[in-house]
């Protein structure tokens, strides 16, 4: 007989045990799991493309490329066309050449292993929100969606620039999550940002100090575009924008933003922005053969009006010079010295894209003078091939009268040199630091790499 004292504790303990046991899950229960039947990335690495992607992106950067369409990677309410499989490798080669490699070169592989987007999702068509087409988006600092690739071709140089620009733009957003954009950048165009940017033209926005209307929506997009355009479209494009499309206030804003971006990269990220810019520009020029990033193109656009060659300057000691040209120049200098004049420099002055004046700046005593010689000029943006042809002088007084003093010496030295064959116009010398990329340029005699001359570029005559 259980005593009354123990009866209740025993009963309630028993109840508790039954209660707990009755609700115990049976360990034989198997949860429903469809993950294996619908993977985010359908790995089927049997094709050459899959192997190439693995070897060049997954193994190197731990980045996976998702080119097989999944609706779950984009906004659910949109129609987005899958990418043509033939476009994948050419596009990713461009990503490596025009984006990853330049960053690796200037920031190092460890930086890119950490910061390279971990997922590249590629689509064939644009992504439309309403009537606005989007070319890219960055998601969570991990994924980059790139749209509208079904027309992609490396031979379509403007499209390469567009897509490469999208990548640099989106990657800047990712970098901004690591190092926030400078506070002073947000202040530069603070009063100009607008939610109504879609009703603004690019020209209107540029006049206010933006790269385009899209940049005017907020500082984040503005900053990303301030990286995208100078890096991909290039420093000359940026200079030309300031020259042709902006007000004084807009130009000042762009200059201030440019400095802020430089500071952000150089100090915040410890990345040489100019070096990055140079690497991308050289990829576009030399690999993609984009004519719109070449020196001849910008001569023909009327951006660069002068090249000043002064072989006595320190620059030539630092970056090197051509013995052949130096001999020509010094012969002229000697000739002029024999006439009591001191040659200071030689300047190519592009009156038009087809008309050139070679000006010799010199001293007579302590007074400065110029002697001008007229040439026809032609330079090809695709090939760089350039010809100088002496034409009749267009004047007889002033600098043309001065030219008569030295004409026989000029004809046998500089004129003979310039008209001796074709030259290749380019951003030379390549060994010059990135800080002067597109600030100096020159001409190399065709087929003679050691025979060249270059100088400082100017935008006004």
């Amino acid at each position: 007989m259980i005593s009354k004292f123990f009866f209740k504790p025993i009963v309630y303990s028993g109840l508790l045990i039954i209660l707990l046991n009755s609700c115990r899950k049976d360990d034989k229960f198997t949860p429903i799991n469809m993950n294996d039947l619908n993977p985010d990335v359908p790995y089927n690495a049997n094709t050459e493309l899959d192997q190439w992607l693995k070897a060049n992106l997954l193994d190197v950067y731990n980045s996976e490329v998702i080119y097989r369409y999944s609706r779950y990677h984009h906004e659910y309410d949109r129609n987005i066309t899958p990418i043509d499989v033939d476009r994948v490798q050419p596009f990713m080669e461009t990503v490596i050449g025009g984006f990853a490699n330049p960053y690796v070169a200037v920031a190092g592989m460890p930086f890119m292993k950490v910061n390279m987007p971990k997922q590249w999702v590629l689509y064939g068509s644009s992504s439309y929100s309403s009537t606005t087409a989007y070319w890219g988006s960055a998601v969570g600092g991990v994924r980059v969606n790139i749209f509208d690739l079904n027309n992609f071709s490396k031979s379509n140089t403007s499209l390469v620039r567009d897509r490469l620009g999208t990548i640099h733009h989106e990657f800047t957003h990712i970098l901004n999550q690591r190092v926030i954009i400078p506070a002073e950048f947000r202040e530069i165009s603070k009063s100009e940002y607008t939610g109504d940017w879609q009703n603004m033209t690019d020209a209107q926005a540029q006049n206010l100090g933006f790269m385009r209307a899209y940049s005017a929506q907020n500082p984040m997009e503005d900053f990303a575009d301030m990286v995208k355009y100078p890096v991909v479209w290039g420093p000359s494009w940026f200079e030309n924008l300031i020259r042709t499309r902006t007000s004084a206030a807009g130009a000042a804003a762009l200059r201030a933003k440019e400095q802020s971006v430089l500071q952000y990269f150089n100090s915040g990220l410890q990345i040489d922005f100019r070096e990055l810019q140079k690497k991308v520009q050289l990829y576009l020029k030399d690999t993609i053969k984009d004519p719109e990033v070449t020196f001849p193109y910008w001569i023909n656009q009327g951006l660069y009006r002068t090249v000043t060659i002064a072989p006595d300057d320190q620059m030539y000691q630092d970056y090197g010079s051509s013995d052949v040209f130096n001999t020509v120049y010094n012969n002229m200098k000697t000739y002029m010295a024999g006439l009591g004049r001191t040659l200071l420099n030689m300047q190519l002055r592009f009156n038009t894209p087809t008309s050139l004046t070679v000006r010799l700046n010199y001293l007579s005593g302590t007074s400065a003078f110029a002697a001008d010689y007229d040439f026809a000029f032609a330079t090809n943006a695709n090939t760089g091939i350039t010809t100088f042809t002496k034409v009749a002088q267009s004047g007889t007084t002033g600098s043309y009268s001065n030219a008569q003093i030295f004409v026989s010496g000029f004809e046998t030295t500089i004129q003979a040199y310039l008209t001796s064959g074709t030259f290749i116009a380019d951003w030379i010398p390549l060994s010059a630091p990135a800080s002067v990329y597109a600030k100096i340029a020159g001409f190399t005699k065709s087929g003679e790499p050691g025979n060249y001359f270059y100088g400082t570029l100017g935008q006004t005559l």
Binding site: F7, K8, V11, G14, L15, I18, L19, N21, S22, C23, R24, K25, D26, K28, F29, T30, I32, N33, M34, D36, L37, N38, P39, P42, N44, N46, Y67, R68, Y69, S70, R71, R78, N79, I80, T81, P82, I83, D84, V85, G124, S125, S126, S127, Y128, S130, T131, A133, D148, N150
Partner: protein, 450 residues
């Protein structure tokens, strides 16, 4: 007594709580969901890759017409495709990737670009779809069911049917021999050269028309039209081309008690339409449209205007006493140094009938003048009766010497019976007003709404 109560309470509690004890998971079906879905995925893949000679597909789109495909699936998730979207897609095989996966059911996803992607394209420049929406067609297709020779999917988002039927060896060979485009062009040619097409359904004549291009709003659609109680009743069905047929989407077109499912060319000039029971209906041509003219002609119907677009000559191939009347008018204008640009008879509204002559001086051909005469009219029992005198505008009065009695002798106060007009040149869509007092005299032109 208290102890008994405790014991009863304890046992009651034990029974109550024990009833909640979980047993091990017992699936309603014989296998877990993932196992059953995996089997279905394997099954669908097996069906698709098991068709030795590929598949012939017909896809309906949400806002466009229907489209035809030839597809071959391999077990490495590659698909080869031809389609009736463009002339190129009908002759060039394009390869892409596909996969079968679990979604809202088992889904077939064409996961890299191929011809079928164009119907989904949100950029109008790609294939002419609407911006953002394309043709409202899918990339993902959910498996619906399969039969011995078919497999049917439904678009995941736009719910359009995609039906694939196994091709025969001969059909596959025909696709690879370029006969797909030949068949497509055969239908295009038929409908661009044969007019007033119809089939006979018992004593009924059913007009048959088709838009053979791929335009979003009207393309790849076939229309069956009959007259019922004086009104036109039309049934429109989308279609896609196969290598030997024009196949209507979904269940076909239901007309009266028949369901038409496909059409085929017996030769370049002979087309037949087939119903679900396999009965053949030859497509014939009528000299004039089959639709009762009065069902489409009135001030507020499909046509309210009889139009002569080239004002210096009436539409060709028609014999009417009006020809002389009109040509004299043209000549009088020409003699005065003027040209009739176009001519129109229009029912402005329920009681105003307009005779409109647009003309210009040859010395200044860009300045066009309108000479217009208006009349009251009634339209009863199929007869248009002009009442009262013509009311003319200033230009009609100014050009009185050229117009002469054109208005007063042929139109003023006259009664007309509207009807189609037959021409020796087919496809002109001509209608006219036949003078009741002189049936060989009828004014005619191209029917339009203006």
């Amino acid at each position: 007594m208290k102890t008994i109560k405790h014991i009863i309470a304890v046992f009651t509690a034990i029974i109550l709580l024990a009833s909640c004890e979980k047993k091990s998971y017992v699936p309603v079906f014989d296998e877990l969901p993932q196992a059953r879905v995996a089997k279905q995925i394997d099954s669908v893949k097996s069906i698709l890759t098991g068709a030795e000679y590929g598949w012939i597909g017909i896809l309906s789109t949400g806002t466009g017409g229907g489209f035809g495909f030839f597809m071959e699936f391999d077990d490495q998730e590659n698909v080869k495709m031809m389609a009736d979207l463009t002339n190129t897609s009908a002759v060039e095989v394009k390869s892409s990737r596909y996969r079968i996966r679990q979604d809202a059911g088992v889904a077939l996803t064409f996961d890299t670009y191929n011809y079928i992607s164009l119907l989904n394209a949100p950029n109008p420049n790609m294939y002419g779809g609407a911006i953002r929406d394309g043709f409202r067609s899918d990339i993902d297709f959910i498996y619906d069911h399969a039969t011995a020779d078919s497999i049917i999917f439904v678009g995941k988002r736009y719910r359009q049917q995609f039906k694939l039927v196994k091709a025969t060896a001969a059909q596959k060979a025909a696709y690879y021999e370029g006969k797909y485009l030949v068949n497509i062009n055969g239908f295009r040619n038929f409908f661009s050269t044969k007019f007033n097409n119809y089939i006979e359904l018992g004593s009924d004549k059913i007009a048959v028309g088709a838009v053979t291009d791929s335009s979003l709003a009207t393309g790849k659609r076939i229309t069956f039209t009959r007259t019922e109680d004086g009104s036109a009743v039309a049934v429109t069905q989308k279609f896609g081309y196969t290598v030997d047929k024009m196949v209507m989407t979904d269940a076909g077109a239901a007309v009266l008690d028949k369901r038409f499912i496909h059409a085929a060319l017996k030769d370049a000039n002979t087309m037949a339409i087939y119903d679900a029971g396999g009965t053949e209906y030859l497509v014939k041509q009528n000299p004039v449209p089959l639709i009762d003219f009065l069902s489409v002609y009135a001030y507020n119907k499909a046509y309210n205007s009889i139009f002569v677009p080239n004002g210096t000559s009436l539409p060709p191939g028609v014999t009417s006493d009006f020809n002389t009347v009109y040509n004299d008018l043209v000549n009088r204008f020409a003699a005065s140094g003027r040209t009739i640009r176009d001519f129109e008879i229009k029912l402005n509204n329920s009681n105003t009938f307009a005779i409109r002559i647009n003309y210009y001086a040859n010395s200044a051909p860009t300045t066009v003048y309108l000479a217009e005469a208006l009349s009251s009219y009634t339209f009863e029992d199929g007869i248009i009766k002009l009442t009262g005198n013509l009311s003319i505008n200033g230009n009609w009065n100014t050009r009185a010497a050229q117009i002469g009695d054109f208005g007063t002798s042929f139109f003023q106060g006259k009664s007309f019976r509207p009807d189609w007009v037959s021409s020796t040149v087919p496809g002109l869509n001509l209608g006219g007003l036949y003078r009741v007092d002189q049936p060989t005299a009828f004014v005619y032109g191209v029917m339009r709404r203006s």
